[in-house]
């Protein structure tokens, strides 16, 4: 490219080197000036291209900055907005922002009936407005002055920003990409999901999980087929939601071999058939490899059935949502209970015995970390390596150390072996174990330890059933899958019901981020079949049940457990 510049009445040429430099610089500048990645930082983290925090003014006189002032705080990472009480935060994805707004009945119905709305919000939803498309100039005006392209004032909740042109360029470039296309795993007729199962898992549990998924999908897909076949039958305005109707297709991703190879196997399965999200899942050992894979590809993963989740800080929410913090949560709850129930003055040495496995190490490490420093110094770790620990092992591991508190992070066989060496002289010894390692049954507690052993118990105690449980149980009976492993079935059922609720909320905005946001929003209002006493998430929260009981075999009801602590939240 060469640029011709004419002097008055006389043609002339810009030197070729200058023209080339200008052209290259221009191309580079255009690329830098509209950098969606820099726009993403502004949007999600509240950090300007200069590295300075975003600053804004809220409600006229409240200064906010950084992450609090980021767009994602209210409009959420997906850009599809949120609602809370009387405050409705609108969607600002590229296709919606940079096009004329024409209210759509499906979205309006969802807005009206999804959540209870106080009066002003209800009025606002009932009086939808059109709006001219934004462009960068009108967006800058909206951000700075709070006036939309039609001259209407934005809500007081919308902060006022003073972005420079460079940052406006970045932000606009990012907003144009936000929600621009559905995420992978969805086509016009089907949403594809996967569940991950590794070799080495309990086959009965695997069967219970897969049978539940199969029955749920069968029921759901029949409903979808019926709606699609009979478009004119539209009770409760169902026809409005035909745009959102998709069959669900579930792919079982079997993993084999060592866990170090799982990510590559998952990668291959995904290449073969991209899925929108992973649901449930059962693997031998830690869930970490699957967690990391989901993180890398930003694939939502809902409620894997694992005692070894990846426990992450919630400043950077992961793509995986777990029921609990697993064994780590149990150990932390026990540490808190011990500090309350066994006052410092009367407490001698503390011993924890554990198997040198992922489960054992996780429990022992978390228990130590959660102890106050002075107690942790008195805590002695004893890993067990032998297949069947000898009497000599127990003598050295426990009896010679004369602990006043003994934690046995062990399974039924090891606990039984220990009980045979437990003497009456040790009756004052406080004993604890994990119900998760013992299969949550009192049958695993040796007779000699009954009445002495406390168990960490992260689920609802037997005998306190939720009303919804009976409805779900009858559904299982109707499907002919009401056999063993009820906890696996109930948790899988809840995962699928929650997915259904979240997708209904999304209508046809198939964004993975939005899916996770809808999951966060919906869980607390859903009927809980009751495996966990309370399930709740919030923006960025990734562990739905947050506490644990300490329980013991009931004295007056053989075979039953009773809580010896309240619900402990570490």
């Amino acid at each position: 490219m060469s640029l011709i510049i004419r002097h008055r009445g006389k043609p002339g040429f810009l030197p070729a080197w200058l023209a080339a430099w200008l052209s290259l610089a221009g191309a580079a500048a255009t690329a830098w000036a509209r950098d969606p990645a820099a726009g993403r930082r502004i949007y999600r983290e509240g950090v300007l291209a200069s590295g300075e925090p975003v600053r804004a003014t809220l409600q006229g006189d409240v200064e906010i900055r950084g992450r609090t002032a980021s767009c994602a705080t209210c409009h959420r990472p997906s850009g599809f907005g949120s609602n809370e009480g009387s405050s409705i935060v609108p969607a600002i994805t590229g296709p919606l922002l940079f096009a004329d707004r024409l209210p759509r009945r499906a979205d309006l119905f969802r807005g009206l009936f999804q959540d209870p709305l106080p009066s002003p919000a209800r009025t606002a939803v009932r009086t939808p407005r059109t709006r001219a498309a934004y462009d960068q100039k009108s967006l800058a005006v909206a951000l700075r002055d709070g006036v939309d392209p039609d001259g209407r004032r934005l809500d007081r909740l919308m902060p006022r920003y003073a972005f420079g042109e460079r940052d406006m360029n970045h932000l606009t470039a990012y907003l144009k990409t936000l929600g621009a296309a559905p995420d992978p795993g969805v086509d016009d007729t089907t949403i594809h999901f996967a569940t991950v199962v590794s070799e080495g898992v309990d086959l009965e549990k695997r069967r219970a999980m897969l049978a539940t998924i199969e029955a749920f999908l069968r029921r759901r897909n029949l409903e979808v087929d019926r709606d699609v076949r009979r478009p004119s039958a539209s009770p409760y305005y169902k026809d409005e939601f035909r745009i959102a109707r998709r069959r669900w297709d579930l792919h079982t991703w079997e993993l084999a071999g060592p866990s170090a190879t799982w990510e590559a196997q998952l990668e291959a399965r995904y290449r073969e058939r991209p899925v929108f999200a992973l649901l449930g899942g059962l693997v031998a050992g830690s869930w970490a490899p699957v967690h990391c894979y989901c993180e890398r590809l930003s694939i939502p993963c809902l409620f894997p059935l694992t005692d070894l989740p990846e426990v992450v800080e919630e400043d950077r929410p992961s793509s995986t949502v777990y029921f609990t913090r697993g064994l780590q949560g149990e150990a932390e709850a026990l540490a808190l209970w011990v500090s309350r129930a066994h006052p410092e003055g009367r407490l001698g040495p503390i011993v924890q015995v554990f198997r040198d496995t992922e489960e054992g190490r996780t429990l022992a490490r978390a228990f130590r970390r959660a102890m106050p420093e002075a107690r942790a110094a008195r805590l002695q770790d004893v890993p067990a390596y032998a297949e069947v620990p000898s009497e000599e092992f127990w003598r050295r591991a426990v009896h010679d150390r004369k602990p006043s508190l003994l934690v046995l992070w062990l399974g039924p066989a090891d606990l039984d072996a220990y009980s045979k060496t437990h003497s009456a002289a040790e009756d004052r010894l406080a004993l604890y174990a994990s119900s998760s390692l013992l299969g949550r049954t009192t049958m695993a507690i040796p007779e000699r330890l009954r009445g002495r052993l406390g168990l960490t118990y992260p689920t609802t105690l037997p005998g306190s059933e939720e009303p919804h449980l009976f409805r779900v149980r009858s559904w299982f009976r109707a499907q002919g899958i009401a056999d063993e492993h009820e906890v696996v079935r109930l948790n899988t059922y809840l995962t699928l019901s929650l997915t259904e609720h979240a997708l209904e909320r999304m209508v046809d905005h198939f964004s993975r981020d939005y899916f996770l946001e809808c999951v966060e929003h919906e869980l607390e209002s859903m009927e809980n079949p009751g495996v966990f006493p309370r399930l709740s998430l919030g923006p960025g929260q990734r562990y739905a049940s947050k506490g644990c009981y300490i329980a013991a075999p009931a004295r007056d009801r053989p075979g039953d457990l009773e809580a010896i602590s309240s619900w402990i939240v570490p």
Partner: protein, 230 residues
Amino acid sequence: MPVLVIPTARRSVLAGCAWAAIAAVVATTPPGRAAGAGDDPKAPPKAPCCADCEACKAAAERLPAAARYARTAASYKVPNVKLLGADGRETSFPAALDHDGPVLLQFIFTTCAAICPAMTGTFSSFQEKLGDEMKHVRMISISIDPEHDRPERLRVFAQRFDAGPRWAFYTGRVEDLAAVRKAFDADSANKMWHRPLTFLRPRRGASWIRCDGLMSAAELIAEYRRMVQK
């Protein structure tokens, strides 16, 4: 020195290139170094703007003001339940409110994506603007998500909003905090449905002023002044 006179058709091309060159220089400026007025967050955007014109401003002024808060007076029976402070210490709810001067109270949760940052920001701005007078005031923020908002999370949240020594954050047991919210007619089945409520009480034993809706710091200060001057 020859003067360049450029025909109109070419001006835009050259202007584009020159702007690109300038932009390239700006874009290659190392991070941390001021790169021009366009990067100053306090500088107004360069883009021409219709809201700057008087006609648009006038049009905006004619629009009805956004919904403000509703103000009512109310008496609440304070339940005798335990709260857990951000410092990890337990206290009873009546003790937390037992203050002879003005008390301001809000219900929030730390992961809230919409109204809590705004409400807490108002409290933050209020304490800053009140200055010395804050020594007579007690501000209380109570979590409605107690299982998640443990004391350490409350401490981080308080720091994020520069909470001063007269501003306390509390969590506690789910049942106890549900009783507190119920007593203040501020309960909801899902924390995502909670309302932007701010409560003010001038002195021990007096009734509460209940403000339902988001408030600016100036509005909260006005409510406070009106209350203490009575």
